[in-house]
Symmetry: D2
Subunit: 478 residues, 4 copies
């Protein structure tokens, strides 16, 4: 679970994790304080993005918008929330995949077009964005941001002669990638999920109100119940006529992002039929089966490795301990250590417990390694506090390929597993042992659904074709 | 001179003045700190708009943008200014004519379009904006703001196949109104003035650098010299080849906004051949000629009436006194008086000097009356502090018509002179005498150039046709 | 572990926990960036107080001070930290026991007195403060705050004729209570611990530099090592002559606050000879021994019950699960639910995991109950998410008495265990079972040191006499 | 009139003016919103100090306090003002004489002492502060700030056995200097003016409410009327029994600060019997009589020289012109020009009007010269914009001595007139002529009251003895 607010400049050290881009939440509920419910829904999705937050509210006539850089609780205060009036809303929290960190990239975006106003909150990445954008620009379109979202809205506007639903359909044919989108008109809330179901989206209900959200934990938080996941390729339109669904575009298979289960989603969410908590624990158990090490302790790298570490401990019978304490009080602007005290480094955030570690053979469980820099520091630090042996175990296979569907895994050249062998990585981080969960083992956790996931970052097997040469990096549009 | 910062909520009382919309400043200067010079240039133009401020800087490859709500000195700090790199820049301060007070309406706007990036800073109003916008939207254009400026950029993008200069030309054919526009590409700075020369724009020089600005006082402030005014209908393109001019669109006459001389422009500016200070003083002299009252004192409503009052005093021989002291310390958020102490009203800002006024017959000189509410309070207050007679003199004719070229004169129904006779206004404000400068007298100040001005707000003689019915009000696009 | 930043208004719901008041950190280190090290030290102690933070730095000649309301990382930025110059410092994070939440109560306090300047950072509570304060006032003393600390400084100033050490000694004779105090003069750092050792303080070393801190985790974080705990009644003076100790005042016994081990201290701290983590785990084991319930799961109330829950699970053999997910993204100003959605209540912060709980008999482990309101909500919520039975277990005995030595346990009338029987509490919170760790069981965890702790809040056995009638409540001085 | 808000760092250039230290305002008014009235009163006194602002309100039982760095309108918002409850209040705006710019020095100060609570707002300077402070410290007093005010409160507390009035009397005997003090207890408002009447204080009335303020313009602003000036040495006690006066301490003469009339006070104030506006105008007339120069124009340095310049013009018959335009939009943090564009210097704030100045012989009128640096820049700039001759005239005699009674005139070594002859100063600033108003001429303006003023900064004739050696400078206490 990605719990930290890394602050404006990325916090104490570069978070050596894949980065989720966004969380989205929408509600249609006459008589409810939809802005406030969206606020709490976004709060529950804050782990999906801490860079900016925004809410747009429709009242049947027009759309109001407030957004800014920062946490949900920093962007909104009582006065701002109370200024909203209306019965339908969408909200967005953003990390940032395409588009750099800049206010102009905060979402939702709200546009006026030929048919009125439209708001958009988007989670995901469009792989053929450069091509689409060039095409639009060649016919006179202008863009203020570098986000995929602005391209999507332009496409919808161009296709809108026969109504919004038709325009969305045409847009889905054009765009290739992983996405979950919420659209808000003055009178309707619309949810769209990509044909492969790469990015998550679910439908909930709170009394007579209908909700769409990235994860079911947001439904729990606002006292709503999970109705079902939005299906791959499905368009859900919620308005005064209730909930209507259509599925104009279909892919041959499902390809849910498997990293949602490994790292992104909150353990208390239920996603495409699986309890994240249970699946994550089972990954830890499988890890233990694959790596039968002799050791005294299993400790997690908190909080991302905690659930898997517990599974590992249960399966292996090796005692689970909290050997690393995490400081969670990173405020808005944590000051980086200067050169003279840079040795403090990772210790400011994770403090080893000497009484636990001293003289022990330790299995450390984390979810993944991206560049490998932090892992090496952790191994070092554990030894310094007395660990006799350090075995580093990951509840995911080696991340070797970039993701083009909405996760910021860094460029391939930065991925340690793209360039180093297992033995080299072990040496690089200084561990006595290193084990990655096998892809087989990972998929086995999902039983009969094992073929329904996107594993491209491990296997290079991309469900949606990637334009070549892909101009990688999130600044491609700038 | 419009000197107050009205603060977030409009200050102590509704400013009963026409509102200027914007000030613009641009510079092309290799080797100079163009962002900082633009900062000081905007600072000198702050009287033209206090709602938002922004600067965009080009470096030959791309355009950086920082803007926010507030004064120039509130929006920028050392760190932000220093983050800019480049050799050409445009800046903008905004009051707000079209488009409500909202961050999304702050300028400059920066867009990506088929030919790269383009920034725009705009002063003025497009009379046929609704029509142009509808047309653009019908072919798929989307709009994030309610500003004219976004429409202009869309037009330019649509017309850009044969290059930017051609696109600007075509755009000028389409748009009807009063405007001065600065465009910034990665490599060039372009200035455009409407064919009637309604809104002001001048060209300056600082060493090898070229500058475009709304008023010459901004040139003085940054140590540049005034080269000349940009001509009506002129396009000035400044790039590595120096300054190039073209005049593809011509109107049959000039129609400079006469309110710039009456109220908006700083007295130390020189505009279209006239010293604002001298012209404004002469208006006061003419006022005295037209209204030969017997009185003990001439006092201005500071600061807008100060220069004309001095002219009145000189001509009439009646002593000039400062009978109203103005408090200029309105910070960001001045708190309005509550009902219980609302009688304080205008007194918080203007304090009469009893020792000056007591027992005296007073001529008060102000520049104009819009709704008449504040004028009445001033007359009242002067009597309360001992004035025996109060004669209210205005250095402009009665404002009877709305402006469609960039000044917010309020809707016609709010203009007191549109609905009341001179005698009724005199009664309404409670003065013993009331005199407006005659239109003849006003124009006489300009001698042989008397036909080169737009006097539509007094006479209803609009130089550019107004679409009928004009959907008045600045929220027309929202 | 008290991990939340409750924000300005106390967060989502009244934190139903005893409240620790403060954390203190001091360093004497020539050539080091002592302000920055203090910043990181305070960051590691942030769990001890989130209301205000401050740092005072001495340079041999004078003392500089910066403090404000908020988290350490909110109060300080790079510019402020860099403005400090000197080689010795004290820092403080504050919750608030005596003295309401107000900037004037933030610490350190810095005073000028007859012998120069003196800064003070204080953790604890003086039981006879009212009496001392009255006495001082009767001889002309004035007070700007309502803190104990201002009284202490006045006492020291009055007694300072024979030097600071003598004055501290005399002050220690006068003041009755639990305290750890850091004093900073222009040239020396002084640590004082109360004669019973109620509040914690330890001595560390980082190269040639000496450090005093509330908990050893702060030493780890800044890369220092733990030398030893400061002894009860000890005064440690650190200056250019190194570390000097004296023990002028002695009590007949030790009485370390046992709640530090139950709840306050970070698990990775070592305090008066015990690993907090180990002790806390053992409390959970003992709890399981005392309450041999039949159940399917043990779940903690995160994060305060996590370590004890794990001990319970190990001892009982019942599987440990994370059945409640905690949202840690409370920013500066979290907006309270309005009446209409108040049912969300505790759910905004703790979300039950239905897949874990459904149909299960659950043992919930928390550290303590103060008023009982939150516990009831948690039980309710667990049932709503499917728990078949809920057994509430506390790793502390019932809190029946107020603390007068630095912990805000609320007034006795608010303590549920002061007024209700075990059976009544069980009914009140709606649990199927309820068990508090026995005082015997708690003390047994500490083996031979069992008599060295203050257990007054459970037993009413106060080591230091309490003035009668004690004017309870933290606003006593206002 | 000192109208600029110089911002945190002193604005664009060092303000080469004496600096007034503070403005004070107090009200006793049952049934009124005293906090809000105080807010507006302070707003009217903002020219007397822009560094910090504060309000303390009493309700019969206790005193509430809010204060911070910044303008009145920056420190207070609606929420803060509304949080006050009570019927008596004191407020303070501060520049800073004794005591550096630091939040701890903001006023009012509120203390608890033996008899309850007491708030203090103070304008002035105590010449023997060091001695008083040492004495207090030697008997155990401690000080948190470096202000005179804290010493005064300590004295009052020490003397309070026989009641507050007696304590104030004793305190007045001890303190030597110029001061106006407002004290607030839970139930009474007390005003004190020094025995020589150096610093101003007046009494006003608004319905049944009584007001004390530094200047009468604050009475006008809140709709109150001036009753009379508080007399030198007078103590005014306002409580439920109405207004009571006593005059326990008397000096042999009056010595009102003459700089209030020359520069500090607002022209619309009436002070100790004189209209500031009229007196200031008369100074200009006298200046013209003393310096019968042949010239084409008289221009003021706005705003401080405006009134005197007008007097000069009237007397001499030389036309008055606005030759320097002042930019008043300095926000909170105006960015200083960097080295590369430092030539802009004073021009950012004062812009010469070429059309006015070109080819003319100019008399420039300002109120005073302190260090002379800005005056030189102004002369330079006027020549650059075409002035043929520049005559610099000051409406005050040369400032040669430091003030010890509440004005920051800089140390004697920085005063240009203390070290240079008239001819040397003329050369230093580069003027064609230079004339200071003679002391005779200045005093003549006041007619028969000519001996009632302190002219120490010109003559060295100090009405109150100055301790020798006076430890000059405002940081003396730090």
């Amino acid at each position: 679970m990605a719990e930290e607010y890394l602050g404006g400049s990325g916090g104490v050290w570069p978070a050596d994790k894949p980065q989720e881009e966004c969380g989205i939440f929408g509600i249609y509920g006459a008589g409810l304080d939809v802005a406030r419910i969206t606020y709490y829904g976004l709060y529950a999705l804050q782990h999906r993005g801490q860079e900016s937050a925004g809410i747009a509210v429709g009242d049947g006539e027009r759309i109001q918008l407030i957004k800014d850089m920062g946490l949900v609780s920093d962007v909104f205060n009582h006065e701002k929330l109370s200024s909203f009036q209306g019965h339908l809303a969408v909200g967005h929290v953003r990390y940032s995949t395409t588009g750099s960190s800049h206010p102009v990239n905060a979402q939702p975006l709200v546009f006026r077009y030929a048919r009125g106003m439209i708001g958009l909150a988007h989670n995901g990445n469009i792989a053929n964005i450069t091509e689409l954008r060039s095409h639009l620009a060649s016919t006179g379109a202008v863009f203020q941001s570098s986000t995929d979202s602005e391209v999507i809205v332009n496409l919808i506007a161009r296709y809108s002669q026969n109504g919004l639903a038709d325009a969305i359909h045409k847009c889905m044919v054009d765009i290739k990638g992983g996405y979950a989108i919420l659209l808000l008109t003055e009178k309707s809330l619309i949810g769209v999920r990509d044909p492969f179901g790469i990015r998550p989206l679910c439908l909930g209900r709170k009394g007579d109100a209908h909700i769409l959200a990235s994860e079911s934990c947001a439904l729990d938080t606002v006292g709503a119940e999970l109705v079902r996941d939005v299906e791959p390729g499905e368009i859900i339109i919620i308005d005064e006529n209730g909930v209507n669904s259509r599925k104009p575009v279909q892919a041959g298979r499902r390809a849910h992002c498997i990293f949602e289960y490994i790292y992104f989603a909150r353990p208390d969410s239920r996603m495409d039929g699986f309890s994240v908590s249970k699946v994550r624990r089972e990954m830890g158990r499988q890890l233990a089966r694959e790596y039968p090490v002799e050791a005294d302790l299993v400790i997690p790298v908190p909080d991302s490795g905690t659930t898997a570490a517990r599974g590992f401990a249960e399966q292996s019978g090796i005692p689970f301990e909290e050997g690393l304490m995490k400081n969670r009080y990173i405020g808005r602007t944590f000051i980086q250590p200067t050169q003279s005290i840079r040795d403090l480094g990772v210790r400011l955030k994770l403090n080893p417990v000497r009484d636990v570690l001293n003289g022990k053979r330790v299995v450390v469980v984390d979810d993944s390694i991206v560049r490998g820099t932090t892992s090496g520091k952790i191994v070092n630090m554990l030894r310094e506090f007395g660990a006799r042996e350090v075995h580093f175990c990951l509840s995911s296979p080696p991340v070797k390929k970039s993701c083009y569907y909405g996760i910021d895994t860094s460029n391939e050249e930065e991925l340690i597993a793209a360039h180093k062998s297992l033995a080299e990585i072990k040496d690089f981080i200084g561990a006595d042992g290193l084990h990655y969960l096998s892809l087989e083992g990972l998929l086995g956790v999902f039983g009969e659904s094992r073929d329904n996931f996107c594993t491209a970052c491990f296997s290079g097997d991309y469900p949606v074709a990637i334009p070549k040469p892909y101009e990688a990096g999130k600044y491609v549009l700038e």
